[in-house]
């Protein structure tokens, strides 16, 4: 690429005949090299098809050999401290752990709100039908008892198709 330094036109007028113009050449080769490597790296980590799920901050998902992809669904997160439904904290995880009932009321209310929202969207667009799908991101150290209560509660609201989020080994 060829470019001229600023004010060179004015300087040229003043320059005597026979004197060479100052030409600055930008070398883009090294930048192209960087971009090529970056492009290859990004192409390798590209996800084609299915919904992209990013782990919730502070949640260590368990490792698994599964490679299946997700379908677009609401996400319920069980961290060590809180149960988060669609980005909003529903209740502390300790409440779920200590509860004697399988159904957890705050989680049920939050999921019912998610379902109502999905159904309102489904009324406007047939493509967004409520299918009862739910993605559960749970910390690997969570006792199964907590997960069992969360899954039971989800089913009472109509989320029967539950998928667990795991980190690929």
């Amino acid at each position: 690429m060829r470019g001229y330094l600023p004010h060179t036109m004015a300087m040229n007028r003043r320059r005597r005949a026979g004197e060479e113009a100052v030409v600055a050449r930008l070398s883009l080769t090294s930048l192209i090299d960087i971009f090529t490597v970056l492009l290859l790296f990004l192409l390798k980590s590209l996800v084609v098809g299915g919904a992209v799920v990013t782990p919730f901050p502070g949640v260590n998902l368990p490792p698994s050999s599964s490679t299946a992809s997700f379908k677009e669904s609401p996400v319920l997160v069980v961290t060590r401290d809180h149960v988060v439904v669609d980005g909003t904290s529903a209740c502390p995880t300790s409440d779920v752990l200590n509860s004697e009932r399988l159904k957890i009321d705050p989680v049920e209310a939050a999921l019912a709100e998610v379902r109502a929202r999905s159904e309102r969207l489904a009324e406007k667009s047939a493509a967004r039908k409520f299918e009862g799908k739910l993605i559960v991101q749970a910390d690997e150290a969570i006792p199964f008892h907590v997960l069992q209560k969360i899954m039971y509660t989800s089913q009472t609201v109509g989320f029967y198709d539950i998928t667990l989020a795991v980190i690929q080994k």
Partner: protein
């Protein structure tokens, strides 16, 4: 005999300057592609693990072989295979857990050979078992070809029956 040009008719010129490649279109393409790919790239690969529940039409509920994997805080083992009783292996430490899972995987592979058409397994899990261990067992079941596991919560450990009590 080779005929070489004498070079008499050649005009002497200065050194030929190499033509620069116009890289601007390529740069424009890269500048457009890199943010697009950055947006859709996933640096921590998260995948989906399917589960079945009792009564929701899981494969295990209809299988002739009621293959069951029992996972407690201290043991893991198979159950529900007609005519065969499997030992529940100790998993109280990380070494015994690894060894127990190796044994379970071998047993599952043997069962797969014996029951090639059966799919689905019931996973009975005790309340305080960490979720990580549940996923490890689900992986073992899936990798042996039995597909998704049907999750069941085990009741708290029953008290030992008193001597002389009916079983």
């Amino acid at each position: 005999m080779s005929l070489r040009p004498s070079g008499r008719g050649k005009k002497r010129r200065g050194p030929v300057e190499a033509e620069d490649l116009n890289l601007l279109p390529l740069m424009s393409l890269f500048v457009a592609l890199v943010p697009t790919l950055l947006y859709s790239a996933v640096f921590v690969p998260v995948s989906a693990l399917g589960i079945d529940f009792p009564g929701t039409g899981g494969a295990a509920s209809e299988a002739p072989l009621a293959l069951t994997v029992r996972l407690t805080e201290t043991t893991v083992g198979l159950d529900g295979v007609p005519g065969r009783v499997y030992a529940q292996r100790d998993r109280s430490s990380s070494e015994t857990w690894t060894a127990a899972m190796d044994t379970v995987r071998t047993e599952l592979a043997e069962l797969r050979t014996a029951y090639p058409t059966t799919s689905g397994a019931i996973l009975v899990v005790s309340p305080m078992v960490p979720y990580r261990d549940v996923v490890t067992v689900m992986d073992a079941v899936r990798e042996s070809g039995f597909g998704n596991s049907t999750l069941l919560g085990a009741a708290a450990a029953p008290a030992a029956p008193a001597e002389g009590a009916a079983p």
